[in-house]
């Protein structure tokens, strides 16, 4: 795992930590929803740098792709869809003070815990390193995800598939079978269309590379899938393509192929190898690659569909006064 030594590390770490805290305070206090969402996207990117400083490049890539990229797209769309709404009435000063004191108490308790952690820090580095060779993977995080804690990873890919099903069920009954329209936000600007043409080919390469290199270097199905999903969402946002309708069979196969293949190979492991989710000797690397490829596809499809939203019928022309109501919300 790479580590980036600085001459005086604290020069970087303290300002970065302060920036995260100030940004968090600002986006809690600022008045406009859209400004807060943009601030949150910047927060995700700063947090990714913090993860690099903590030596967790795998997490940093996930945070940048998910927390900075896709999450920003999702929340910006939501902010545009919701419009600036009138503030809810603020509670009385004593209530705010009480909540503030309680939250400060939580922070102080957590900080005390962080500062009083046991001195020889317990860890599983040696245990992972000792067994990593069996997985034929160079990236210890990938080995943990796909082999040592494979149950977590498999259940998590099931969670993503379930999330898409739940999201689709949010649509109105009569809209079932239609396509998602949350990203239909009026005609795209020329800049967005240009970006939608230039970025996806590069993003496709980056996404697939992240998946492939994840075996030995930071990266993996989640990071690669998130980049691929962001490219799909960009295409839909720029109106260069449309999200598939929820009745599309191929899309459904794409959602479940990752968890399904993972589960089937895991069950086969109970017979051929010695346990559920164990890989037979000699076939370990090919099976892992097969699972990861299917998982990359499923993660990409599921994340993109989560951004695209529930099925909707095309809106009749009126009732789109959100942009007009915006200046009123800033008062």
């Amino acid at each position: 795992m790479p580590d980036f030594p600085l001459p005086v590390p604290l020069w970087a770490d303290i300002p970065l930590a302060l920036a995260l805290l100030v940004l968090a305070l600002w986006l809690t206090a600022t008045r406009r929803d859209r400004a807060a969402v943009i601030g949150f996207t910047g927060y995700g990117l700063l947090a990714a740098i913090a993860w690099v400083r903590l030596g967790s490049v795998d997490v940093a890539l996930t945070e940048a792709a998910l927390g900075g990229g896709l999450m920003g797209l999702l929340l910006l769309t939501a902010a545009a869809r919701l419009g600036e709404r009138a503030d809810q009435p603020r509670p009385a000063m004593p209530v705010r003070l009480l909540v503030g004191v309680l939250c400060l108490g939580v922070t102080l308790a957590l900080a005390a815990v962080v500062l009083s952690l046991p001195a020889p820090a317990p860890n599983l580095v040696a245990a992972v390193a000792a067994n990593q060779a069996a997985t034929e993977l160079g990236n210890p995080v990938a080995a943990v995800l796909i082999a040592f804690r494979a149950v977590d990873t498999m259940l998590e890919s099931v969670v993503l598939a379930l999330a898409v099903i739940v999201l689709w069920s949010f649509g109105a009954d009569r809209a079932w079978g239609a396509r998602p329209r949350t990203l239909d936000l009026g005609p795209p600007s020329p800049a967005l269309m240009l970006l939608g043409r230039l970025l996806p080919p590069l993003g496709l390469i980056v996404g697939v590379h992240l998946f492939w290199t994840g075996a030995d270097h930071p990266g993996g199905p989640f990071q690669g899938g998130a980049v691929l999903a962001a490219m799909a969402a960009l295409l839909w946002l720029a109106r260069l393509g449309e999200p598939p309708p929820v009745s599309d069979g191929l899309t459904r196969v794409g959602i479940v192929i990752g968890p399904l293949l993972f589960l089937l190979i895991g069950l086969a492991g109970a017979v051929i190898a010695d346990a559920f989710l164990a890989y037979p000797e000699g076939l370990t690397k090919p099976l892992i690659l097969l699972i990861e490829a299917a998982k990359t596809l499923s993660v990409a499809v599921a994340l993109a569909l989560l951004v695209a939203g529930p099925p909707e019928l095309p809106a009749p022309a009126p009732a789109r006064g959100e942009t007009a109501a915006e200046p009123g919300g800033t008062v």
């Binding site: 809690t28 400083r53 929340l75 860890n123």
Partner: protein, 138 residues
């Protein structure tokens, strides 16, 4: 001070700020943002613990917590997507109800003159009342 301690304390601060925003956020979308801040703070504390363990074990960071955080980030994203979709749906339902309520009033439908005003006054009296109480306290 090590970077693990710095980011650990930073994570603790983020949990506090996020908690405050989740309880007293200005709008539902802001409370959703704040909830994500809490999650981010918890992940950072976990990352600080992973850093300490990693350095003690001769690596940059302990891979097991890293894997758990990656899983957590993806699940947090899925939960946020569901919450955002619910908010959009709620706004659409409210808009439909408002327009359905507004139409008979505008048309002056004589069939239900009692029911329509009674329904429409409820939320209207609610909003000014809470607004006044908020203004009175502050």
């Amino acid at each position: 001070m090590t970077e693990a301690q710095i980011y650990g304390i930073c994570g603790a601060g983020l949990v506090g700020i996020g908690l405050y925003g989740a309880i007293l956020g200005r709008s539902a979308l802001r409370r959703l943002l704040a909830f994500n801040l809490v999650g981010s703070g918890v992940f950072l504390i976990f990352g600080a613990i992973a850093r300490r363990g990693g350095l003690a074990g001769g690596a940059a960071s302990d891979p097991v917590p890293q894997a758990l955080v990656i899983t957590g980030l993806v699940v947090a994203f899925a939960a946020t997507a569901l919450a955002a979709a619910l908010l959009i749906r709620l706004a659409a339902v409210e808009r439909d109800e408002a327009s359905a309520r507004g139409k008979p009033e505008a048309a002056g439908a004589p069939s239900a003159p009692v029911a329509a005003p009674a329904k429409s006054t409820d939320p209207r009296t609610e909003q000014p009342a809470t607004g006044q109480s908020g203004a009175g306290h502050s």
